[in-house]
Subunit: 506 residues, 2 copies
């Protein structure tokens, strides 16, 4: 490396570090707004967030950034850089190009539109009035098509351009067979479960569970599975989330329903799964845009793995059930671990995605995937969405929502202009099952480890294979390196079939 | 106003708003670090704070700022501005000039020095080893003299230049007679109290007071006196503090000693006093550097007023004593309000300023004032400080510290390079007594209002006369407008003499 390249690279790293500092500060401001800030300070806070976001955007799209990127992305120069700087250049360039290709005034109009649309969507959902939301959604879809024109498309499917925002490199060609597998096998499995006479008793999950005791038990479990409270904390918020400021400060939030045990604990484990990913990223990546999970799907694979494949597994409860009985002796009196395990894995087709069980969840996601793909490829019209939605619910889940509030209007994502995000929820499940399959082969006595509460080897495996790399490896690279094959939904279906065959005695 | 001035003023306001947004964000980052952040995230957080502070400093000292200030501080232009913009220009100009006059490399050396000195001070204090700290303190004093050379001096007293940093416009000419009054009258009063046979029984204050119950009672009291929890919150921290992000979000912190009642509640009231000042600043000042208390002394007048003149008054406890007995029936069994009032106002000469009672506190401050004035005017040498300190303690408080840890090494301020700050603590008491004197004349039945727990008229008075103005009026202006005279310590001494004559039956 020449000394002029060295100087340039050093200046670029310093510049990027400043830019990521804005990101960290903004994350703290958002976290504080959602968990701590008093009501009367909200307006001023939003303004501060606006100012800092604007500055961050300027840094990402400045002339100075452009000069750094031009100098450092020359192929010969790029090759001479260390792998972190190289990946940083590529990541910044991708972001820079994406931002620069949209005319500023059009992007501004889009921001205003989605802000209005979110407000309208709230009212439309409350009134179950799709017609009210429809013109906004139509404009938002038009904007997606316009953005795809600016950004360009791989020539295969316009939707790929949007997928790439959330799951870099993953395409419709990969997703179609995945959802085909999920569709075919899940629909059958759901039907078989519906016919099974062996329904679990879930009544004991609906007893009274005081919030403070749920909180204490959740913290106990998180500590045991390895969420590091010295590098994080857990607070309350309306919607649970995980946010990372740096690998030494990754926070989660939760909410407790005192009349439903089957909610907060698993949500805590889910968020802790996200958080353990971020806590275990190589700290050398801090100060670059690579210091975060590589994609929404891989992130979701970590949360779903801990929530469902560990947290809703029998070995897990063989370990923790004694502790649970100590924490809630009255509520679970006379319930054995087997009954408890079956109860927390009840399958019931339902209308609301966020409340769906592990099995039917993928069907909810699939409906949105099919609709998004149709909208973006202009084979589906916004006007027809309520009918299409209800038809698909009928076909896949066997139930039809009574109104659009519990149907097509339930999610905020489209109002916010997010298209291409939904599939990552199911990709997370698919990845998690693939990774578990490998882990079972590589970690001897995997189930016994879980049953003994020895999560260290699992965490170590996840850290080495996935977490530490942050954004330096793409989802497809990770899957290939870890599993030796491509994305494959059959592991997930094998896992689900085996699990529910046992629970429902199919 | 010409349209070019209008445009310039609008651009300047926008620019300043951006700068203050950085200030608000930094305040959140600091608050979070001191109350919420996990241990392992501290280093990265400090870096983010460093980056944002650097950006804020750049904004305050940029070419763009210079151009705005040059254009807008032309006398004719300045006169044509609305009063908020005018005061903003003057405030920014003062800050700009102050920053620009110090060569950047010298300031950088000073920052490094104080950072080292704080670390050394901690060790020196732990070992009661002044010799270890001495060379650092000598360099820090030299820097103060150098800064005064850069900044210039009013020709009367070099120390005035430093006072102006914390109490704009207040000078040694004003402080000397104030401290002369305090010295003469307080020393006599302390001696009389020492000889009084009527010492209060304080044993019941040292019983066990569970933290959660102290917390609940403190919140109850703060709510009653008018700290707005919808525009703030109270958390725990090692050292209590108040921080304002905007008038709708002013937070306080506290700590509880379960074996001492005479600590947390009054500290909470103190911080709430600071907070109510900030909560009641005219919201139109938000986005300017005027949206904060006008000086350290005026700020302290608000915290001390609520803590001592209200919170340690007999009428206050005539109102709250029933609630206190309900909260702590066992601890205060057999204690009447009169006994309680006398106990919380016990006077005992002691070594540590931060633990001093209301009366002797000013003597602690005076010692530091006399020493600082001597150091800056080069009539006192750093090497002689331990001996001078101990002599003054002997003379004013009648006690001599056994070592420098409880003597000259006790405070961090000098290690941090803060000279001119200490006097504002006593100024706060002096201002508060002057304001109370006026309030008593203007609010009929003042004592009865307090005894009935009706704090609304008092808050309204403070808001109208002091709080709303933020930094648009200087301390001297406020005192003159409110009291019709200058700063005058005799009101404070009248109040203290009357209070302790009653308590100690002098």
């Amino acid at each position: 490396m020449t000394s002029s390249v060295e100087n340039r690279a050093a200046a670029f790293r310093e510049y990027v570090k400043k830019m990521t500092s804005f990101g960290q500060a903004l994350a703290v401001l958002h976290w504080d707004m959602r968990t701590q800030a008093p009501r009367k300070g909200m307006d001023a806070r939003s303004e501060v967030i606006g100012v800092l976001s604007g500055e961050q955007f300027k840094l990402a799209t400045s002339k100075e950034m452009e000069e750094h990127l031009e100098a450092l992305s020359e192929p010969a120069v790029l090759d001479s850089l260390d792998h972190i700087t190289r990946a940083t250049v590529l990541e910044c360039k991708k972001e820079f190009d994406r931002n620069k290709k949209i005319p500023a005034d059009r992007y501004q109009e889009f921001v205003v539109l989605t802000s209005q649309a979110e407000t309208i969507w709230e009212e439309a959902r409350a009134n179950s009035d799709f017609a009210m939301f429809r013109p906004y959604l139509e404009k938002i879809v038009d904007f997606q098509l316009e953005f795809i024109d600016y950004w360009g498309c791989d020539g295969k499917n316009k939707y790929n351009t949007l997928l790439d925002l959330y799951e870099p490199g993953v395409t419709v060609d990969q997703l179609d067979p995945i959802f085909a597998t999920l569709r075919e096998k899940t629909v059958k499995l759901v039907a078989a479960i519906a016919e099974s006479p062996h329904k679990p008793d879930t009544s004991f999950l609906k007893k009274h569970f005081p919030e403070s005791e749920q909180d204490a038990f959740s913290r106990y479990v998180l500590e045991k599975i390895g969420y590091d409270f010295q590098a994080g904390r857990m607070d309350r918020s309306v919607h649970p989330f995980c946010t990372s400021f740096n690998p030494g400060d990754v926070r989660i939030t939760t909410r407790f329903d005192p009349n439903d045990f089957n909610s907060a604990l698993f949500s805590c484990i889910h968020e802790a799964g996200h958080a353990m990913y971020e806590q275990n990223i190589n700290p050398e990546l801090l100060g670059t845009p690579l210091c975060e999970g590589t994609s929404m799907g891989i992130h979701e694979s970590q949360s779903r793995y801990w929530e469902n494949m560990i947290g809703r597994s029998l070995p897990f409860w063989q370990h923790f059930y004694g502790d649970l009985l100590k924490a809630f002796p009255v509520q679970f009196a006379g319930v054995d671990v087997e009954q408890f395990y079956r109860a927390i894995n009840e399958v019931t087709p339902s209308f609301i995605r966020t409340e769906a069980d592990e099995l039917t969840y993928n069907l909810h996601v699939m409906i949105r995937y099919e609709i998004e793909k149709g909208l973006i490829n202009q084979t589906i019209k916004v006007a027809d969405l309520p009918a299409i939605w209800n038809d698909k619910m009928k076909e896949y889940l066997g139930i039809v929502p009574a109104n659009d509030k519990e149907g097509v209007l339930q999610d905020v994502h489209w109002a916010g202009g997010s298209f291409g995000y939904f599939p990552t929820y199911s990709l997370g499940n698919v990845y998690a099952a693939q990774f578990t399959h490998v882990m079972r082969k590589e970690l001897s006595g995997y189930d016994e480890l879980v049953a003994k509460g020895e999560f260290g080897p699992i965490r170590q495996w996840l850290k080495e294979r996935i977490h530490q790399h942050g954004k330096t490896k793409s989802p497809n690279e990770l899957v290939k390196e870890i599993t030796g094959e491509g994305i494959n939904a059959s592991y997930l279906m094998d896992y689900l079939e085996s699990k529910y065959t046992y629970i429902y005695k199919l």
